[in-house]
């Protein structure tokens, strides 16, 4: 997996489901088999994407959890979710989330897309439906609206039966930088002190 960009600015759709939904949709409504869109100055090619970087204001991501395959295990079977990540958006809100897409730059051919507003098919995101709307102006994608997204009610189980939000995920990576202290599982005094010191020492050698 590629390294996360500045997390406060970008979210990465990492799950296969996410790429499928997003690009299959583009392909379908635009009538192109090989859609190339310049989103956030990064060319995204529907033929070979393994990730799609979208602006922060694109408030959805997909969290595909792999767990036990046992279908009887209600708690932890594979759950894919699509929900706004931006905290300002209520998770279970029926209000469509607005997705801002930076229009393609000059590198994309002008007039490549037909102007208009296109509503995509309802796509099954494993545990609920996703539906988005695309606005094309001047041959460029100007906006993507999310019309539907799952709020999880009744489709996956949470401890409190509340709407489950979607959460970001990433592959852990060793980080370096100055730190003041380390948070970790409790340990015996000696082992802890050792690792604390070594962690701090390591972290200070940038």
């Amino acid at each position: 997996m590629t390294k996360f960009g500045p997390i406060t600015k970008y979210f990465q759709i990492t799950a296969v489901v996410g790429v499928f939904v997003g690009l299959a949709f583009l392909r379908q409504i635009l009538g192109y088999n090989n859609v190339q869109a310049n989103i956030n100055n990064q060319v995204v090619n529907s033929a070979t994407p393994n990730s799609l970087v979208v602006p922060m204001s694109t408030p959805f991501t997909i969290n595909n959890r792999r767990g036990e395959d046992d279908e009887d295990d209600e708690d932890f079977r594979r759950v894919a979710r699509v929900t706004p990540v931006v905290t300002a958006l209520p998770v279970s809100s029926a209000t469509p989330a607005t997705v801002a897409v930076i229009p393609p730059t000059a590198s994309a051919q002008s007039g490549q897309y037909r102007d208009g507003t296109y509503t995509g098919q309802i796509a099954d995101a494993y545990y609920g439906n996703v539906q988005v709307q695309l606005v094309v102006g001047g041959g460029k994608i100007t906006k993507v609206n999310v019309l539907q997204f799952p709020n999880d009610n009744g489709t996956s189980r949470s401890i409190n039966n509340q709407a489950m939000p979607i959460l970001q995920q990433e592959v852990i990576q060793v980080q370096s930088g100055n730190i003041n202290a380390v948070s970790g599982a409790s340990a015996s005094s000696q082992a802890f002190s050792q690792s604390l010191n070594s962690a701090i020492q390591q972290a200070k050698v940038v």
Binding site: Q162, L167, I172, A185
Partner: protein, 240 residues
């Protein structure tokens, strides 16, 4: 408990005596609540030597906080195990928080107090920045896999990677093995610490539980080296 305590004060003036007072307070807590000390009140309770109406005020307070936490976590926080009481999943955070209050009362505005990986941060560090707390790599204790920047927050990590499986899921009565590490950021270390263990015991659902709890953020690490984090967690990451 045999746990290392770190107090760092970043204010211009700090009196060693004040830090000694903090250690003294923590020693007193340990004397009362350590399940490793034969003569502690909790050990005596567990041997049936003290009846409930003879419990100290401090003990009653902690036990009622434990009960409250049990209810708030739908039973995932439970100090009853094998017929004994072990409130250490709450006492540590409580103690760090009280120690911090002690320093605040003495006029300190910038410091942190840490016991064995659980930290209360107050104010700013000596660089006038939020305190930078590293989350230890559960797969390599010499590494840090995330640096969070916090001020006036508590950070607690629950994990099974150092002492083996020492967290029991109170519902299934089996060791919690689904995830490997869970870091909780809370408004203070008491709140962060008391929810870190039960959220860990919930497995992958623990991160959802934290998401739904106002004021708490979490960073969960699974066995396949993936991390899942709550939507508000990124506010504690430095903008690159």
């Amino acid at each position: 408990m045999g746990m290392p305590v770190v107090v760092e004060i970043a204010d211009k003036f700090a009196d060693v005596k004040d830090v000694d007072d903090v250690f003294e307070y923590l020693r007193a807590i340990d004397e009362r609540f350590s399940t490793y000390k034969e003569l502690s009140e909790i050990s005596r309770i567990n041997r049936g030597e003290i009846l409930p109406d003879q419990y100290s005020v401090e003990m009653k307070n902690i036990l009622s906080l434990c009960e409250k936490t049990k209810q708030e976590t739908e039973g995932f926080f439970d100090i009853n195990f094998n017929g004994k009481l072990d409130p250490s999943g709450l006492v540590k955070g409580f103690a760090i928080n009280e120690a911090s209050k002690l320093l605040t009362a003495k006029g300190y505005k910038n410091f942190y107090v840490e016991i064995a990986g659980d930290v209360q941060t107050v104010g700013l560090n000596s660089d006038n920045q939020p305190w930078a707390i590293g989350i230890r790599n559960p797969f390599n204790e010499k590494e840090v896999i995330k640096i969070i920047n916090v001020s006036n927050r508590g950070v607690a990590t629950s994990g099974t990677y150092i002492r083996g499986n020492h967290i029991i899921n109170p519902i299934t009565k089996k060791p919690a093995t689904e995830i490997i590490s869970l870091t909780v950021i809370g408004p203070d270390i008491y709140e962060a610490d008391r929810f870190a263990t039960p959220a860990f015991a919930m497995g992958l659902s623990g991160i959802d539980w934290l998401e739904n709890r106002v004021g708490l953020e979490g960073y969960l690490i699974s066995h396949d080296k993936h991390a899942i984090f709550t939507t508000g967690f990124s506010q504690y990451l430095k903008n690159i």
